[in-house]
Structure formats: C-alpha cells, structure tokens
C-alpha cells in the first residue's frame, strides 16, 4: 500500500513562510491570492496490504514523528500500491 501524508500548520498558527510566498506572488503581479499556507508532503511505500491496518500504522507514525501535533495537522490518504 502507499500512504500520502500532508502535514500542515494548524489554523491560528502563524505561517511566516506562507506569508512570504504570498508577498512574493503579489510582487510578481499575481493578484487574487487571499492567503498561502505552506506544508509538507510525505510519501510512504508500505509492506502492509490491509488498508485499515495501514491507515492505523501511518496514523501512529504521524503522531510519533511525522507531525508535531502542537502546531501541525496531518491528513493521511491510503491507496493501493
């Protein structure tokens, strides 16, 4: 199975990098962007073949290492390898 993990800053946590990207876009003449939030994308190739077990395993990985839940949210998408 494959897992795609998106790690993003929680709402309410200031994202200076996103803000800088927003300003850079404006400076380049790209109008119409209300806000930018920057995050991480992590792709995992798993030996597990059961989608439920895979989801549970990746959930544990997110809590323990992949995300810092003080400031970050994560979203896991499991798909057939």
């Amino acid at each position: 199975m494959k897992a795609k993990v998106h790690v993003t800053l929680k709402q309410g946590v200031l994202d200076p990098q996103g803000k800088a990207v927003l300003h850079a876009l404006e400076a380049l003449g790209f109008g119409g962007v209300k806000s930018v939030r920057q995050g991480k994308f992590i792709e995992l190739d798993l030996t597990e073949t059961d989608p439920k077990k895979a989801a549970a395993a990746v959930e544990a990985m997110c809590k323990k290492l992949l995300a810092n839940t003080v400031i970050e949210d994560y979203r896991v998408d499991i798909s057939e390898g």
Binding site: V13, P16, Q17, A20, K64, L66, N68, V70, I71
Partner: protein, 229 residues
C-alpha cells in the same frame, strides 16, 4: 559535578560546552554518542546546540528519537537535571520533556548576534548563579527559536514561574526589537514542572571566558557546580 554531553551527528556546540563545564567544574565531562543505549550515572545531562540530523523533518525531531534519548528521558524523570541549549532546547520539546515547540523565526532569517535576557527564575540549579531580574548579555544563533505553545500552557508556564529567561533590552525594558525571533511572550528559556529541566535558545557557553569577549554565561555553569557538587 559529573556531567554528560550528548553528541548527535550535526551537533556543533558540544565541544564548546565541554570546555565550559570543564572550566567550571574542574572535571572532564563525558561525551556520549547518540547511539549509546544507556548513560552512566551523572549529576547533569547537557544536550548541546547544533543542527542534529541536519534539522531534517523539524529541528530536533530526529534527535528526539535517537537511542540515547530513551535513557535521557528516563533519567530526567528520576530527577537528573537536564540542560538543553539551542538545538538542545528543540530536542527537549520534541521528546516531550518540555512543552511547546520552536518554530522558524518570525523574520525567516537565521539570527546570529548578542542579545539581552532577563533572569526570571533564579531558584533552579541552572540559574542560581544569577539574581532574579538580572539582565545578562548572551549570544543567540538560530533559525528556529520562535517559541510557541497553546494559551493554557503559556498561562501555566507564567503562573508557575517556569519562564527562566525573557528577551529584553539592555536596560531590562521590553519591546523595541529586543525579541530576536518573534517568540511568544519574549520567552528565551523555560523550565519543566519540577524545575530540573531547562531549555534555552541563547548560548551561555559562548560567553563563558574573558577571551570570548564576555563572561555572562559562566554563572550558569558555576551555579550548576555549586548546586550539584
């Protein structure tokens, strides 16, 4: 005082703190490689500054799960004092010994300069070399020093007197750019509940000898020797 300094791949202040500990205590600190499964019995554990594991994923995140950290956490729970400086502070938040997290600096730039901090808690082994309210000059050198936590935890830190150091101007006043990184409530260093763990972004070891241009950091190591024998 017998101290252990944990060395990760990418640590770069380990030898600076080794010298500072040696100068203050007169005995040689143990340098412990991160792959060791256990630490010998020591009076103090120091997690030094640097860029452990190249700051991969998040600064301090990989080091927090290094083999040796299990024993650091276990010993800390038994009351052995733990000092985390800069990257060491980041490791301590990532492994759960201290609350909150060190986010990228608000200005998005690496900040390397001398700043002033006010001693907010002088009743710990780490800070007893200072007087409460004493302002000291101390270097910072970091990209991720922007302390953040939830409102409840912040209130708890303040109510329990667990903010050890706060960024201030030379005269002790707040504001006017005294805070180099956007850190919440100007926090430069915090303690755990039992006041046996201190994490701080500034580097006391970098101003601990007249040859370095200042000695304001030395009192931390002298105080530790006084407290821990």
């Amino acid at each position: 005082m017998k101290a252990a300094v944990i060395v990760f791949p990418g640590s770069n202040c380990d030898r600076d703190v080794q010298v500072a500990l040696r100068e203050s205590s007169g005995s040689e600190p143990l340098m412990v490689w991160h792959r060791e499964a256990a630490l010998p019995d020591v009076d103090l554990i120091v997690i030094p500054g640097g860029f452990s594991y190249g700051d991969y994923l998040r600064s301090g995140a990989m080091a927090a799960h290094s083999p040796v950290m299990k024993d650091v956490v276990a010993k800390s729970k038994k009351g052995v004092p733990v000092l985390g400086i800069c990257n060491g502070f980041q490791v301590l938040t990532e492994c759960g010994l201290l609350p909150g997290v060190l986010m990228p600096n608000a200005g998005l730039k690496f900040v390397c300069k001398d700043v002033h901090v006010r001693t907010e808690a002088a009743d710990t082994p780490f800070t007893q070399g200072y007087n409460e309210g004493q302002v000291i000059r101390i270097p910072v050198a970091h990209h991720d020093g922007n302390y953040f936590t939830d409102e409840d935890t912040l209130k708890r830190l303040n109510d329990q007197g667990r903010v050890a150091f706060r960024y201030v101007n030379e005269d002790g006043s707040k504001g006017n750019g005294a805070n180099p990184n956007g850190s919440m409530d100007d926090i430069a260093g915090i303690l755990n509940k039992s006041r046996t763990v201190l994490g701080l972004m500034p580097h006391p070891e970098r101003l601990s000898d007249p040859a370095m241009g200042g000695t304001d950091g030395r009192a931390m190591f002298d105080g530790l020797v006084q407290a821990l024998g």
